[in-house]
Structure formats: structure tokens, C-alpha cells
Subunit: 227 residues, 2 copies
């Protein structure tokens, strides 16, 4: 991968203009690393952050007895150390190359200079990170919700059936209890209810839930349809 | 919630120093909103972004036939519009208050001025977002992995049993196939294998998997223990 390609694979730099990327590339330092070579030590000052260009890097803490706890392994195109670097703090753990490879070092002082010279650079980096954060939040929501509407639909259909196929059912337990019953947090349960209401499967009024689309709920309950 | 509290609840501002938060508070504009009041229209220039201080705001697109597709609903302490604002672009959708409430508007031009005056402000915002991104990435990994080690352990124990409780088994299908069999992506399967190897449940050598901790694998398979 070329330097520019490696840089633009990092969320922080994804949204940069070509000339901005070039300025970043100019302050970037290529550093070949041998297997086992240390990049930084726990509690060292974070004078910059790293991107893996070749090979793998492990982040670890050493116990007093010398044993290592590996916290994370980063591969090509992944960055590490940027949080303490931006904060102007210290590294919370150590880093070493797992195998022969190459890392790119971005020095804090130079990054700060580029940001002082061009506020748009900071704005574009903030845009990239905000965008990635939105994307991740959406993924988390989707993953968290995944099976809750299914269980919830089954539960609502069951309640309705027990009351002679009633079109509206009363939630017969508090939302907190129902949430744990369904294996969800209260927040996830509320989100599932809102989503199902937005998509016209149900109508929610306090504890009363009107089943608007029984066939749709059956599809949800069977897992055939997902929200 | 006080203005400073509302501001610091937004990931972008979480890591700011008190004096930096105060400078942000000074450029923030309180805006009471009525039920249904429009905040911005799709394709309007993103001259700032918003934080919900009271009530709820919906983000939506209008179809040519006038129907609304609600994309998202934001509640107290949540921000929206920062990506196009930072990019200097246009809003991809419209926003309106769902109920009577209050929003806080952060104007782009003023934010850019603060960043020009103090590079540390940008660095601290970048630190906050990077930190949140790491947190979210961890959550996604945990959610994605959740059930895969369980299924994988069951599969490995089954393979071993079929070969007379062998201590080492050969994966009898390609990793891509195995992944779909277990309902995972190739990437998730690889991560699950590495995690299980890191924690000494197994040892992986190509397609050969050595079962190092049969009791541990049984706990994983039964769901009693999680990675």
C-alpha cells in the first residue's frame, strides 16, 4: 500500500482533501520494525500515534511477575495511540511489533502545527470521526436490536392469544421486568417498541399495545422478517 | 440540565477542559422550538449543528408524494448535523421538533474561529471522538463475537468426539464455509479463533486445531462461560 493509501484507510484521515493528505504524508515517519521490537512503553509520553503499514502490532501490559496481557492486536491500516496523543497524555499500555513489518509514526507537535495553520484540516478530521461514529452507532443499534423485535412479537402474539386474539393487549409487567424477560435493556426494549410502532406493526399508548399488523408480527416472530 | 452539562454530554465535547467548554457555551445559541417546527431542510447549507436540550427531534426525508420517511429520532443530550457541518456541506435530510422543547445551535463559523485560536481545542475534540470510536469498536466486536465462540466450541467438541475424543481436530471444511455454517463472517470466525487461542482454549495451526482445555470448551459451548 502506498503511504497516501495507508493514511486514508485510517478513519481520522478518510475525509481529507488530497492536498491535506499530502501535508500529513510529509510529516509521517516510516519506521521498519523487527519481530518483537518495542514501539513504546506503558506510561511513556504520547508524542505521536502509529499506523500499521506492514505486519502486526500488539498492545500489552506487563504484570510485575513479567507475564504479558495482550489487550489488542492491530493489523495493516489500523491506528493506535491517537487518544493519548490528542490528549497530550501518556500511553496506557506498551506496544511491540508481533512480526517484522513497518509502522507509520505521526508526531503530535507536527500535527498540532498543521492544525494551527489550517483549521479546515481539523474540521475535516472531526467530520471523518463524527461520520465513523454515526456509522458505528448504527451498527451497534442494529446488533443490539437484532433479536429483540422477534422475541417481543412472539410475546405480544402470545398475550393477545391468551385474551382470545385481542387486538390490543396490556403489558402485564413493568417495562423493566419485561426487558429482562426478553433479555434486553430497558433502552433497547423502548427502541424496539418505537421502531415497531414507526413501521406500523403496533401502536403504543402507555402500557396498551395495539396489534396493527398481526401477519407482520408473525413474520417478525418467526424471524422471517427483520426490522 | 445546565448548558455546560448538555454540551459535555455530547461525545465531541466530553474531553474538553472547563475553560474550553465555557468558550463553546459562549457561541452556543439556545433555541426554543414548538411541536412540528422545522430546524433545517434537506439540501440546506449546514451552517452549524444541533444538540437536543429538551424534547425530541426527528430527522426525515419527504417523498415527492409528500410522505415522510423518519430516519432517526434524537433525544436530550444527542447531537445531529455535525458531519455535514464539519465537512462544510449540505444537510442530507430535514429536521423538525417532534414536541415542544429546546435545541442548542452551534454555528460553524464560530466553531472554526475557536479552533483557529486554540489548536488544543481541536486536539481535545479529536481525542474525545477517537476515544468514543474505540469504545464503540470494542462494543461492536463484543456484540459480533457474542455467540460465535459458543457455537465454535460445540462444533470443535463434536468433531473431536467423532474422532474418538481426539485432542487435535482438522477443520473439515474451508474457513469460509465453516463461517457460514456458524452464522458468522470469515473475519468474525478468525477473531473468535484468535481470541480462543489467546485465552488458551485451543491452539491453531493452519487447519489443525488442538483442544487445550476441553472443560473450558464445554463451558463455552454450554454458554456458561463467555470470552
Amino acid at each position: 500500500m502506498s503511504l497516501a493509501n495507508t493514511l486514508s484507510s485510517v478513519p481520522l484521515f478518510t475525509g481529507l482533501q488530497p492536498d491535506q493528505l499530502e501535508r500529513i504524508a510529509r510529516i509521517a515517519v516510516d519506521r521498519p520494525v523487527d519481530r518483537g521490537q518495542m514501539l513504546f512503553f506503558e506510561r511513556g509520553e504520547a508524542e505521536g500515534f502509529y499506523i500499521v503499514a506492514e505486519g502486526k502490532v500488539k498492545i500489552f501490559r506487563s504484570a510485575p511477575d513479567g507475564r504479558e496481557a495482550v489487550l489488542h492486536i492491530y493489523g495493516v491500516g489500523e491506528s493506535f495511540g491517537e487518544v493519548p496523543m490528542f490528549m497530550g497524555g501518556r500511553f496506557p499500555a506498551s506496544a511491540a511489533a508481533v512480526e517484522k513489518g513497518k509502522v507509520i509514526f505521526l508526531p503530535r507537535a507536527e500535527l498540532a502545527r498543521l492544525i494551527r495553520e489550517d483549521a479546515t484540516l481539523a474540521m475535516n478530521m472531526l467530520a471523518s470521526l463524527s461520520g465513523k461514529l454515526r456509522e458505528f452507532a448504527g451498527k451497534i443499534e442494529a446488533l443490539t436490536l437484532q433479536e429483540i423485535p422477534q422475541r417481543l412479537s412472539a410475546y405480544l402474539l402470545d398475550l393477545s392469544e391468551r385474551e382470545g386474539d385481542a387486538d390490543a393487549v396490556e403489558l402485564d409487567m413493568a417495562k423493566g421486568l419485561l426487558a429482562s424477560f426478553l433479555g434486553a435493556t430497558r433502552e433497547t426494549l423502548s427502541r424496539a417498541l418505537s421502531r415497531m410502532a414507526e413501521q406500523n406493526f403496533i401502536e403504543v399508548k402507555g402500557r396498551t399495545i395495539r396489534l396493527l399488523d398481526r401477519a407482520g408480527l408473525e413474520d417478525l416472530a418467526s424471524g422471517e422478517v427483520r426490522l
